[in-house]
């Protein structure tokens, strides 16, 4: 620990009490990484504030000391957005778990950032409401993390992302000011850019979320196809028919195999692909469209269609899909989870190319995706005991992202850029695009202390005149930033 950080730790212990400041190297190790485990950095110190006011105090102390800081919720992020700085402070929101207000008449709730996503739904479900964003980590991920990452989930096809379900946030800005950002107040929609900024524009200390009425009816079916093409045809036909399902998920043969090995989900044997389609809404509407969807799946060549008769049967259908990521651990010693997006209509071409990439490299790829919105989650399998295997897997994983960009898609649909994909940003955006985005960052965080090194491969020196840069970046030279 540098002297600067030591003094900061002492100051924070006075402000927050000694039990809220962790400096013990063994305990610090718990916080070395988030859900992206191949990037690790032990923070210089970890603080566990009790409320928003303490977060503001911490940020002000960090700014005064010139020490970088990173906020962390439950640490389930998959792009290293909460990767700590070895020379900085990690602010963990796990003690901010209070649901402050439930206002059913106005269809909203006010929660602290450490509140678990599913706990919001649990609290309002008796009133006939739920919190719509449903990332697969929803049993453990925090609302603050959802705000940072603009989390989606299987049902965002119909209901949108976190950005559509946050009405306002109390935020500690990077210079320690406490402000209220809202979508409909006068002035710029700073909330709109704050949500999804991966913790680089400040720390949310209170979040007002929109609550959604529980639909009258939910209908779910599982359709098994001989090949992935059949499934793809069905998805296109459903969308073309004007149906907006709550979710359409697809799994290929390899991911089905993994799910079977792991949770015995009992999907139809011999399936080259399964499609899960869920419709929800008013009864008359759902019944009509469900019949349509079933017919379209049959036309596209589904050899078996199972309709969930009740919630238990629905849970069984979803079990295989929800366990898919963890399940590949059963068929491969190690794997990478990729997250890319393509225009949905490019699905057949992109999947064929992924097959080729897999054959050329000998690296197995299991495909799980949110088919309705073209969000792919290829799982790239490898044996970490085999020399060079990890690099080959990284190679295939990167090539898949290039494929997404080539087809006009995105390098991330929901996991975020974090540290993991900062180096891919220049393939998707021009220097001017990235420079322009960083104008926002410079407005919020001119000192560059709030979660530095994330999203952007090259930090912009705030205050500089836009244009071509030469030589070593000044922030790099000062040791304030790294290049990825």
């Amino acid at each position: 620990m540098t002297e600067k950080v030591t003094r900061l730790a002492e100051r924070l212990a006075v402000l927050l009490g000694p039990d809220a400041v962790i400096t013990d190297p063994v305990r610090l190790r718990t916080y070395e990484c988030d859900g992206l485990t191949n990037h690790r950095a032990r923070p210089a110190l970890v603080v566990l504030p009790d409320d928003g006011a303490q977060i503001a105090q911490i940020v002000r102390a960090c700014v005064a000391a010139g020490v970088p800081y990173v906020a962390r919720g439950s640490g389930t992020g998959l792009s290293g957005g909460a990767l700590p700085r070895t020379d900085g402070v990690l602010i963990v929101t796990s003690r901010l778990r209070r649901i402050l207000e439930i206002d059913i008449a106005n269809q909203r709730a006010v929660v602290e950032p450490g509140v678990i996503n599913l706990d919001v739904t649990r609290a309002v479900r008796p009133h006939g409401y739920y919190f719509a964003p449903d990332p697969s980590s929803q049993q453990i991920c925090s609302v603050g993390g959802n705000v940072a990452e603009n989390s989606g989930g299987a049902h965002c096809l119909k209901y949108g992302f976190t950005a559509h379900h946050v009405l306002s946030c109390e935020v500690v800005t990077p210079d320690g000011e406490v402000v209220e950002l809202s979508a409909d107040g006068p002035g710029y929609d700073l909330l709109g850019v704050f949500v999804g900024a991966e913790g680089t524009l400040g720390i949310a200390t209170k979040v007002t979320v929109r609550l959604t009425r529980v639909p009258q009816t939910v209908q779910t079916l599982l359709a098994a196809f001989g090949s992935i093409e059949g499934g793809g045809t069905a998805v296109s036909a459903i969308i073309a028919a004007g149906v907006v399902p709550a979710a359409i998920e697809m799994m290929d043969a390899l991911s089905i195999e993994a799910a079977e090995a792991s949770v015995a989900c009992g999907y139809p044997p011999g399936a080259g692909a399964v499609l899960i389609v869920e419709l929800d809404g008013p009864q008359a509407e759902v019944e009509h469209q469900f019949a349509q969807v079933k017919a379209l799946c049959e036309e596209a060549g589904a050899f078996e269609i199972r309709v969930a008769a009740d919630d238990a049967a629905r849970a069984l259908i979803w079990k295989g899909r929800k366990s898919a990521f963890a399940a590949v651990g059963r068929i491969s010693p190690a794997y990478l989870v990729q997250d890319g997006v393509i225009p949905r209509t490019s699905l057949p071409r992109v999947l064929a190319r992924i097959d080729e990439l897999s054959a050329e490299s000998g690296v197995r790829v299991a495909n799980v995706f949110h088919a309705g919105d073209g969000n792919l989650h290829p799982l790239v399998l490898f044996d970490d005991a085999e020399p060079g295997a990890a690099e080959r897997a990284e190679g295939v994983s990167g090539a898949i992202l290039d494929l997404c960009i080539e087809h006009g898609g995105s390098i991330t649909g929901e996991h975020g850029v974090g540290v993991d994909k900062a180096r891919y940003m220049p393939r998707m955006f021009t220097a001017a695009d990235l420079d322009t985005m960083q104008m926002v960052r410079c407005g919020f965080d001119p000192a560059g202390l709030c979660n530095p090194g994330k999203i952007f491969p090259t930090p912009r020196l705030c205050g500089e005149v836009p244009g071509v840069r030469k030589g070593v970046h000044p922030l790099v030279e000062q040791g304030k930033a790294d290049l990825f």
Binding site: A163, Y188, V193, R213, H288, P343, S410, M428, F429, C462
Partner: protein, 379 residues
């Protein structure tokens, strides 16, 4: 003018005053125009259809209007992906016509007839469909802008699900031309519903109307819009149900006796209230009865957004008093008003995070040449 003519084919003097108008026909031409403006230190006002040019305080300087209406192409309509990319000067009604050929729509009402895509985004305009689909911030998936210094910058893309980089689409929605010139936008689309049903009822008092609105909101009806408006007969409530089948029978009882179903929108639907003074109000859904009692002429979307119209003969003092009353209930911003009223009242009300907004503005437009003075806090 010569420097502008060298980069843009359509340059002319403005109808009044000394200002010039440039109407670029491509993104590159727009960028060249803004570069020339930067070199000459010109204050630039972006304009589309012009329907909301009078909204907000008048800019303190106006040297050059950049008219986007020559930028009117549909760049790409990927019908199978439910995505469209268009240039900013395309009219909203023309876009709707193009999309309708494929049975699709941009789920965004255009309350003013000649509105362009760019103007709609820049003013954050929306109508009754905001209830289910939100406003431009929720439907823009990619945005191309020209910065004050003439650089072209893109954010987002042409896929709906995308979290790569900051979302400038949301930042620019409702920014009134003060951060940059919007030149292209990609939107997420929705299918045109097979059936549309408008359920309407009229109530004698605010509480009865509010009760009906709350009954619909908390039912599983999943309406596309729930609107409320003061009309000569009382307070009208309208519910729009859209989908593959008719569902009116299920919802009609919630509106009480005398409720009707029709397949056309009632006459008052999705309009700004009449009057020379237009005030935008925001609040919680339960603010409705208070707003109804405070304002003589209100239109309201049940999600918490509305407008108050006032006659031109209202005095500045009366408007100021009304603003105080409205701001006890929620937010109230004067959008348009005769100069003598606008100059005499606080048009914005409290602005949280203003210093942060100023810093963002300073980054995008350090010389304050983009619609200077038109926005909150004199931005």
């Amino acid at each position: 003018m010569k420097a502008l003519e060298a980069v843009c084919a359509d340059v002319r003097p403005a109808a009044s005053g000394d200002a010039l108008v440039a109407a670029p026909a491509s993104v590159e031409e727009a960028a060249a125009v803004l570069r020339v403006a930067a070199e000459h230190g010109l204050a630039v006002i972006a304009r589309g259809g012009g329907g909301r040019l009078g909204w907000g305080p008048p800019p303190s300087r106006r040297d050059l209007f950049v008219d986007t209406r020559n930028l009117d192409r549909v760049v790409e309509h990927a019908a199978g992906d439910l995505v469209v990319k268009v240039q900013a000067g395309l009219r909203m009604d023309r876009l709707a016509a193009v999309l309708a050929e494929s049975g699709q729509r941009l789920a965004l009402d255009a309350p003013l007839p000649a509105a362009t895509v760019g103007g709609t985004i820049a003013t954050g305009a929306a109508g009754p469909l905001r209830h289910l689909y939100g406003t431009p911030r929720d439907l823009v998936i990619g945005l191309t802008i020209v910065r004050a210094d003439g650089e072209i910058a893109r954010s987002g893309g042409k896929v709906v699900k995308n979290v790569a980089g900051y979302d400038l689409g949301r930042l620019f929605s409702g920014s009134f031309g003060t951060l940059g010139l919007i030149v292209e936008a990609a939107f997420r689309l929705h299918p045109v519903p097979a059936v549309r049903e408008y359920l309407t009822a009229v109530y004698a008092d605010a509480d009865a109307a509010h009760e009906a609105v709350q009954a619909v909101l908390h039912s599983p009806a999943a309406p596309s819009a729930v609107e409320c408006a003061t009309i000569p007969d009382g307070i009208a409530v309208g519910v729009l149900l859209e989908g593959a089948t008719g569902r009116a029978a299920q919802v009609l009882p919630l509106l009480g006796q005398g409720a009707r179903v029709g397949d056309a929108a009632p006459e008052w639907w999705g309009r700004y209230p009449e009057g020379a003074v237009l005030i935008e109000v925001t609040g919680k859904p339960t603010a409705l009865p208070d707003f109804l009692r405070a304002a003589p002429n209100l239109t309201w979307s049940a999600c918490g957004h509305g407008y108050v119209g006032l006659a031109g003969e209202t005095t500045p003092a009366q408007v100021a008093d009304l603003l105080v009353a409205l701001r006890r209930i929620g937010g109230a911003v004067v959008r348009s008003a005769p100069a003598q009223i606008r100059d005499a009242v606080d048009v914005w009300g409290p602005i949280p995070a203003l210093s942060l907004m100023r810093r963002v503005k300073d980054q995008f437009d350090p010389e304050h040449r983009l619609s200077p003075g038109r926005f909150v806090g004199g931005i």
